[in-house]
């Protein structure tokens, strides 16, 4: 059994909340302003890219166009029972977003001691970024 000190369990040091950007109306969009608390951990560009991609994905979910109208009409005609078997376009994109966030966490954020929370978990109000304590660790494993 290893001594306790060997085990790194980062504790949460703080959380950063990236708020919504309502400048384009009511669509789901998050601010790309780089929070100062992340300066030591992350590139500004990296952060902006993540948020921008998220914004694009949400825009795709909420896009008005032929496809969404078709889905809406079809749903209406089938008295919305069609959604018992099929998921809405929005839901499909939300799944995509979930995968993207997971991917980003694995590749970029977790190695830096950060964790992105899927905004849907927060009612699409904020992108919560948890900053874990960056303790220097004695021995390795």
């Amino acid at each position: 059994i290893r001594p306790l000190q060997d085990l790194r369990q980062p504790a949460v040091s703080s959380k950063v909340f990236v708020q919504r950007d309502y400048n384009s109306g009511t669509i789901s969009k998050f601010q790309t302003k780089f929070p100062s608390e992340l300066e030591s951990r992350l590139d500004k560009q990296q952060f902006e890219e993540t948020i921008q991609t998220l914004n694009n994905l949400y825009a795709e979910a909420e896009k008005l166009g032929g496809k969404s109208y078709l889905e809406g009409c079809l749903a209406c005609l089938t008295a919305y029972t069609i959604f018992l078997c099929m998921e809405t376009h929005y839901e499909k994109v939300l799944k995509k977003i979930s995968r993207y966030i997971k991917d980003q966490n694995e590749k970029i954020y977790a190695p830096r001691g950060l964790l992105l929370t899927d905004p849907i978990e927060r009612g699409l109000r904020v992108v919560e970024i948890t900053i874990f304590e960056d303790r220097s660790i004695g021995s390795g494993r």
Binding site: I1, L4, Q5, D6, L7, R8, Q9, P10, A11, V12, S13, K15, V16, F17, Q19, D21, Y22, N23, S24, G25, T26, Q31, A61, E62, L64, S68, Y69, E71, G72, C76, A79, Y80, T88, H89, Y90, L94, S98, I101, K102, N105, E106, A110, G113, L115, T117, D118, I120, E121, R122, L124, R125, E128, T130, D134, R135, S136, I137, S139, G140, R141
Partner: protein, 510 residues
Amino acid sequence: MHLGVSESMRECEYNQISTRSSTPMETPYKNRTPKKRKWESFPGRNKFYCNGRIMMAKQTGVFYLTLALILVTCGLFFTFDCPFLALQLTPVIPVIGGVLFLFVLGTLLRTSFSDPGVLPRANADEAADLERQIDVANGSTGYRPPPRTKEVVINGQTVKLKYCFTCKIFRPPRASHCSLCDNCVERFDHHCPWVGNCVGRRNYRFFYMFILSLSFLTIFIFSFVITHIILRSHRFGFLSALKDSPASVLEVVVCFFSVWSIVGLSGFHTYLISSNQTTNEDIKGSWSSKRGKDNYNPYSYGNIFTNCCAALCGPLPPSLIDRRGFVRSDAPQLAPPTNGITTYGATQSQQGHMCDQDHCIQGTKFVLQAAATPLLQQHSSEPVILTTCPENGGSMPGRGPLTLGGPCASLPLGQPTPPTSIPSLGCHEAADMLPIHGHGHSHNHSHPLQEPVAHHHFLTPEEVPSPPGMLPCGSPMGHNHAMQAGFYNPASQDSLHEDSVRGLVKLSFV
């Protein structure tokens, strides 16, 4: 720059736990606290049925009246008038009647039972963060917090975003707080007692379909009952006809009064849809040209067709409140500033890590904390195995255990620990967020069908309008104060003064 970080930190890759798991968690600890679903600790004043599938407002009496009226009138129509009409005219009549009736019922139930677009309240961390930002911006004035608004420019129009004291968020544009349901609702239209629910972003189209089809249904029934009576009186005389079919009289009366109001309402909402406004905005005259020459609706797409399509056939967003999800047993709160592992000493039970299937990313933290204590305790075989999927190959049954990648955390899997003693955040939130109000004030919507426009005046949402002239319908300002006052106890005293200091301090964000 992670100069101080040793390899082990680097190697601690966190695998993201599935954040959208919807499968109910199986717990071997059935003898422990049963898992609650989120609807059970929902902070708003809503009623839930069918284990969270159905969501309605608290007062549902009028909804049952609506239902009864529709069912009884249609029932009478099909029983007494249809046989005659089917024989004398055509059997298509009852068929069309039936289709209309089913459509009306379907849309009514869909409107009443679905989530109108409730915005979940901010959790403690978010609220604290927001408060900090506001304080920083305001320079921390004295005891009374100044009114909190943010200005945003949308499509050339300046829109004020208000801070909701109950939900602790800045309301998105077009959202409003319904004082009856005590929720912020996206694209809030109005609270309709007839359907027993708020009408907002997610159920507006169903509401519109409901009143539209109901208009057709009432006109249909009205005209065919009249036809029935006329045809009958040709044969048997008027009085005799009435005696033979007494139900028809009742139907005519109901339909007569309904037609005016329902058709009027449908017309009004058709206008609203085509100009992409909400009832709320229309009542307040938010985008009326009377306010100013340059005042226009920034949300309108410019043409009627697009506005209609967007409102009725646009993508339907999913519910943001996860009603049927399980409340996470660990409270994902920020750890207090800690000196080190010792803070999470032996006294801290490692129960926190037994997070729900529901993914709690924050559960990672607890697992990790919990891992601190294991070897000192009985449950030394801390299952600090974090996997991304709910299933675990190990002896840990179907929980959402988390895996620290690689060799980082390889404590042997062992006896699972009992569920947390940390109260669920859901309960916490509910306790924190629920304002202590003494306001039993409820806006009375006793306006029946007669006044389709007035119908919508019944609930001016909680917002205290800034320029006093904002409410043409004349809801007294005092009234709004009263509503506002109930929401947040500490701020309630301030809210009464809110108007007077409103506008003095504004936050301008990015």
